[in-house]
């Protein structure tokens, strides 16, 4: 389990004179849940877009599942999953159509699409809604389905950008059960969240401040190094420390 799925070294992205990501270096192991935290505008989204092969870095190195983020962007896209709160599924397609559409995008064979779609629908207990439009599904269900679709091709890593924003507290916890299951199956998870209790569910966390990784470690290590009792206080310390 010691294989690194993400490795970055001094990864940097500049937009004109503004440095959105400033020499970030970190790695994520196979099956690890890695929390990617930081204030709004700290550079998380820019970093994620580079790691997904959607944005070329200005300098530095990175590989995702063994693929280089300068040269192999198309291969990276086939080996990752992505899900965000803002956009996940097509509202005017049915449950089944969404699953088939994404499975097709990830280039599964017709036979695989059929098998996995059936399996997924029964695992989520969505048999009765398989032919309903996504927009008629409660949000919590949509989010769980969106996650399952993002890992339907058994990617090496899945990127989750605020996956639990706005969902009810019970569904939020069920969602983390799905994340743990994916990690147990060997899928690495990189997740952003504004819920500080969720930071505790991550194996390791990085905290970005002004484009740099200001701290990295297990939740327990971070709390003890700042001598505080909660991840919120760690966050407060790092994100606002410079103003104090």
């Amino acid at each position: 389990m010691n294989e690194n799925i993400i490795i970055t070294e001094d990864l940097t992205k500049k937009f004109g004179s503004f440095t959105a990501c400033d020499k970030i270096s970190f790695s994520v192991k196979k099956g690890e849940i890695f929390g990617f935290l930081g204030a709004n505008g700290a550079g998380k989204t820019t970093a994620i877009r580079m790691l997904c092969g959607l944005l070329l870095p200005t300098s530095g190195k990175a590989s995702i599942g063994g693929y280089d983020i300068y040269k192999d962007t198309e291969k990276i896209k086939l080996n990752i999953g992505y899900m965000s709160q803002k956009f996940s599924l097509y509202e005017d397609l049915t449950v089944k159509e969404n699953i088939e559409f994404y499975a097709g995008i990830y280039r599964l064979s017709t036979k695989e699409i059929k098998e996995r779609s059936k399996l997924l629908i029964s695992e989520l207990g969505l048999e009765r809604s398989a032919d309903s439009l996504i927009r008629s599904l409660p949000l919590g269900w949509r989010q769980k389905l969106a996650f399952s679709v993002a890992v339907i091709h058994s990617p090496k890593i899945v990127f989750l950008d605020e996956p639990t924003g706005g969902v009810d507290p019970v569904t939020r916890r069920q969602f983390w059960d799905l994340i743990y299951k994916a990690a147990d199956d060997g899928i690495s998870v990189l997740v952003t969240t504004h819920y500080m209790d969720e930071a505790e569910y991550c194996g390791r966390i990085s905290m970005m401040v002004d484009g740099k990784i200001a701290a990295m470690g297990t939740p327990a290590e971070l709390k003890s190094s700042y001598n505080v009792g909660s991840m919120y206080e760690v966050f407060l310390h790092l994100a606002r420390g410079k103003n104090e």
């Binding site: 924003g165 969902v167 507290p169 504004h194 505790e200 569910y201 919120y232 994100a239």
Partner: protein, 305 residues
């Protein structure tokens, strides 16, 4: 007289019932929180109260004005910050502010005092187009525009969604200051921890209000007996707790699991149960319910109705 009075409101969109028999009163000068997940009906209620949407039945008034008959009077005395950023992206910061002041037949200068504390934070960017601002600055500008005509009632629909926890805290500090100026604030949020910052809250889920009260009263009405539990193997712990005799619920909260157990006055029975199941480094202590514990208990009760 209440600042906002809502009686038995229903609203459906075709087959979907968005609001079911909603009633609530908001006192003058109160910060009232509407707390619930996406899809609970929060935005629908805001749109009815801000006179942008017609209800199916029931009645509602804002500062004594009827939301349908007196919609013109209401529009003059309320400020509304919708969930989606809805200022003019291609106008600058100061142009947006001036525009909203003019629409309400007033000037920025006349009302500057009210927004000063917030506006000074975005003033360095006053020539910048609104579309080019960061999320936090857009939020501050939207609040200034909603306040520029000195409204009596402020409607804020999920002002902190997607905002990091520290900036969220700072936003609430601004609201507390506005409260001291006598403005009534109705604010919605999916972040339950923000309940602590409201005078009173309504917990809303699937179009129905589950409870309206102060946070203190809601927490003390929690009927379970909660312990915070942890061990060396958290995922197995979650599973084992669910099999413990007399358990009502077990939900993970950060590094602990909150277990609601009956007939277990000091936790010793739970401790020996977990030891027998080979858990190590067990920690058990009684814990006060958080707002999320209360919300989940109410959710479960609603579902079993």
């Amino acid at each position: 007289m209440y600042s906002i009075e809502v009686k038995n409101i229903d609203k459906s969109y075709q087959k979907v019932q968005a609001l079911k028999d909603i009633s609530l009163n908001v006192n003058k000068g109160e910060i009232f929180g509407l707390i619930g997940p996406d899809g609970a009906g929060k935005t629908t209620l805001f749109r009815i109260l801000t006179t942008l949407l017609l209800k199916d039945s029931g009645s509602a008034t804002v500062e004594g004005f009827d939301v349908e008959k007196d919609y013109k009077a209401i529009r003059k005395i309320i400020g509304y910050m919708p969930g989606r950023f809805s200022l003019y992206q291609d106008l600058s910061v100061e142009e947006n502010l001036k525009f909203f002041a003019t629409v309400f037949d007033t000037t920025v200068e006349d009302n500057y005092e009210l927004i000063r504390d917030i506006y000074v934070q975005i003033e360095p960017f006053r020539k910048r187009r609104a579309g080019q601002l960061s999320g936090g600055m857009k939020q501050k500008l939207a609040l200034c525009c909603a306040l520029i005509h000195q409204p009596k009632v402020l409607f804020l629909d999920e002002p902190t969604t997607g905002v990091d926890p520290v900036s969220r805290h700072e936003f609430w500090e601004m609201l507390k200051k506005l409260k001291t100026k006598g403005i009534t604030i109705l604010v919605s949020t999916p972040y339950m921890d923000e309940a602590a910052l409201c005078d009173r809250i309504a917990l809303i889920q699937r179009g129905r209000i589950m409870r309206i009260d102060t946070l203190e009263n809601i927490v003390s009405a929690f009927t379970g007996h909660l312990y915070a539990v942890r061990s060396n193997d958290m995922s197995r712990l979650n599973f084992d707790l669910k099999e413990f005799e007399g358990i009502t619920s077990a939900y993970i909260f950060g590094e602990f699991i909150h277990a609601d157990v009956k007939n277990c006055p000091d936790g010793n029975k739970l401790l020996s149960y977990l030891e027998a199941r080979d858990h190590k480094d067990i920690k058990i202590f009684p814990v006060h319910p958080s707002i999320e514990d209360c919300f989940m208990e109410l959710m479960n009760k609603e579902e079993n109705k």
